[in-house]
């Protein structure tokens, strides 16, 4: 519901921008492009308003959590995080989106109702005193009726168009039919109804009424142009005289000030066009087509840029964040002596896979999928290094040890743009974002940033991430899930987890509702590749249980620490 509303807003803004642009260049386009171009260009604006056309440029998108089959965790690789500054405005907007969307819907229904009511009433009234005229069957292919109450020839009816003529029409109807037939052929009625539809949906946007007027005007102008294209000068005069003759039927003594100037102006414009039609050459037409295409593409791109994020599970990740290019998963060294060994793991394998972890986390897999290649290298390097030294095998927080081996020198330089949080959120819980940490930043770095924000360390039994963070550890000796209960998400509706373990294994994280025990979502984390996994779209009033376990079959010991914030 609110998604649709957001789309409508985006479409509205884009359409407004394009309309403004078209209005600005109108003096030029009026002169150099054909009346047809000037008419149909507004169709593009209509398309923008009615169809959510958008081009998605590759970029940062969060993922929906893939549902986890029993025993399997999907492997997810890093992707860039959304820009932080964009979000705060949107967050504010999100709060009111629900109400606003209802207002928009209500307004649209209201305007639609008013229009339809007036329309139906109108047709009822003019139809009452009308008589069928069969004499024109040869000249025009839609039914013709003469009505007492109508002032000018008019075609109404979207599905079964009918032409109503005023009683006092006289016999000189040749040009009327010519004009109306062109309207019919070009399906101008449909276009006008679409324009009205757009103005009803986008009733709050003043530009939609401008578009309505423009389409109206350009429709008439281009119709005149088409009708008189092949007429001689004398015939054109007759055409114009016909129009004036109908105008004379209903002259009023006193002009209604608001309207008359624009109506007269329109007639002047029409007559000028008829009298001296512009000549268009094919080069102009080609260029005009190109310009139209460019406008449409730009609008589509703008549309795509701001589209609310919804990515299907099967979508391939696009580019890797340059942060992780070349940088590798560091294997955590608990002891100070050994330098960090960095195996050459290429994290440029963007794919969400649903393979069960069982097969891929095993030491050797035969399938040559990119993930398993990764696994192989990981396995190799894991076995290469000396046996892991769990400096902390007790379950108390061992983040102090990890601090030692981190380059705290990096902290100061990195502090400028601490990308450790996800500020994106999804409408439904279960989407998550990946944020890549740069340059060996780890738990200690995150803690520093959090402390800067005023957050305190909490205990593992309950925690509100708006004010605190949780540090914990996991050891293979336990080999059961580590549970952090009653955690409330942070101020963005997210719960983020970061691991440091002593080997490249998959850690599983699952989140469920504390009260109902319903699972909200889960993901598998390839530990030691510098990615923060951030659950999004959580309810700020609920508390959640977070379970952490390791999916190793015991071949090597898994020990590590994590931070939840």
């Amino acid at each position: 519901m609110t998604e649709i509303f957001k789309s409508i807003l985006i479409m509205s803004l884009t359409a407004a921008a394009v309309s403004a642009f078209l209005l600005i260049i109108k003096p030029i386009t009026r002169r150099i492009f054909s009346p047809r171009w000037n008419y149909y260009i507004w169709l593009f604006v209509l398309i923008i308003m009615l169809l959510p056309v958008s081009l998605r440029l590759p970029g940062h998108i969060g993922y929906r959590s893939v549902s986890i089959p029993d025993g399997g965790y999907p492997e997810v690789y890093a992707v860039s995080a959304p820009a932080q500054d964009q979000m705060t405005l949107l967050q504010l907007f999100d709060r009111y989106a629900g109400i606003l969307s209802k207002i928009q819907l209500g307004g649209a229904i209201l305007f639609f109702g008013i229009r339809m009511f007036g329309y139906v009433r109108f047709i009822g009234l003019i139809h009452k005193r009308s008589a069928v005229c069969n004499e024109y069957k040869s000249q025009i292919n839609i039914p013709v009726l003469k009505s007492e109450f109508i002032a000018a020839p008019i075609i109404v009816g979207l599905f079964r168009p009918v032409l109503y003529l005023p009683d006092a029409s006289g016999e000189k109807l040749k040009y009327v039919f010519m004009h109306e037939m062109i309207h019919q052929k070009r399906r101008d009625l449909i276009i006008k109804w679409l324009a009205v539809l757009a103005s009803v949906i986008h009733w709050f946007n003043p530009f939609s009424y401008i578009v309505l007027r423009q389409i109206d005007t350009e429709c008439e102008l281009s119709c005149d142009f088409e009708a008189t294209k092949k007429l001689s000068a004398a015939e054109r005069k007759e055409y114009m005289k016909t129009i004036l003759a109908f105008a004379e039927i209903n002259t009023t003594g006193k002009p209604l000030v608001a309207q008359f100037s624009s109506d007269k102006r329109l007639l002047k414009r029409r007559f000028s066009l008829i009298k001296t039609p512009p000549r268009t050459c094919s080069a102009m037409s080609a260029m005009s087509g190109l310009l139209a295409l460019i406008i449409l593409l730009c609008a589509a791109c703008v549309n795509g840029r701001f589209k609310p994020n919804k990515s299907p599970e099967s979508q391939n990740l696009i580019s890797m964040n340059s942060d992780t290019d070349g940088s590798d998963a560091a294997i955590e060294q608990k002891s100070e002596e050994a330098p960090n060994i960095k195996p050459e793991i290429q994290p440029s394998l963007p794919k969400i896979s649903q393979e069960t972890v069982g097969s891929s986390s095993a030491k050797n897999t035969n399938a040559e999928t990119p993930q398993t290649k990764l696994k192989k290298t990981a396995t190799k390097s894991a076995s290469e290094k000396s046996s892991p030294e769990p400096t902390s095998s007790d379950s108390s927080g061992n983040s102090e040890n990890s601090e030692n081996s981190r380059n705290s020198g990096n902290l100061n330089t990195q502090r400028k743009s601490p990308k450790i949080k996800s500020t994106e959120s999804f409408d439904d819980a279960g989407g998550f974002n990946l944020i890549s940490l740069k340059n060996d930043n780890g738990i200690s770095y995150i803690r520093d940033v959090l402390k800067q924000d005023g957050k305190l360390e909490s205990n593992a039994s309950s925690s509100d991430l708006k004010q605190s963070y949780i540090v914990g550890s996991y050891s293979y000796k336990d080999n059961k899930a580590k549970k952090n209960g009653n955690v409330c998400c942070d101020e963005n509706g997210n719960i983020s987890v970061y691991f440091e373990t002593n080997s490249d294994n998959i850690m599983g994280v699952s989140i469920s509702d504390s009260a109902t025990n319903e699972p909200v979502g889960s993901f598998g984390v390839l530990a030691n590749n510098d990615n923060v996994y951030s659950f999004c779209g959580l309810n700020k009033d609920k508390s959640y249980d977070i379970e952490i376990e390791s999916k190793t079959n015991g071949e090597w010991a898994v020990e590590g620490s994590y931070i939840i914030y």
Partner: protein
Amino acid sequence: MCVLWDSDKPLSIQEVCDRLPEHNWAYKTVGTLLTRMEKKGAVSSEKINRVNFYAPLIDKSDYTAEQTKNLISKLYNGSVRDLAVSLFKSKSLTKDDINELKEMFDL
């Protein structure tokens, strides 16, 4: 208007008031209304002994037709204009405007 049509002779303001169905229309209201209608040419007035007597100028069918046309015009300019296609849209060109156009384009 209905009151005036129903009677066969011109009526004064007070008489119109008396004959109005149901309610007590204020004398002043009726008076103003009749004056305005006279300005528009719907009624004529004749002063007999310092009292105005009003008679209808247009007959019923013309009047209702006129009203309907007004309504249709309002509806058209309101809702229908954008939903229909016509030869021209103006309902309010004055004779001067038309002459101006004729001259400008040599018609």
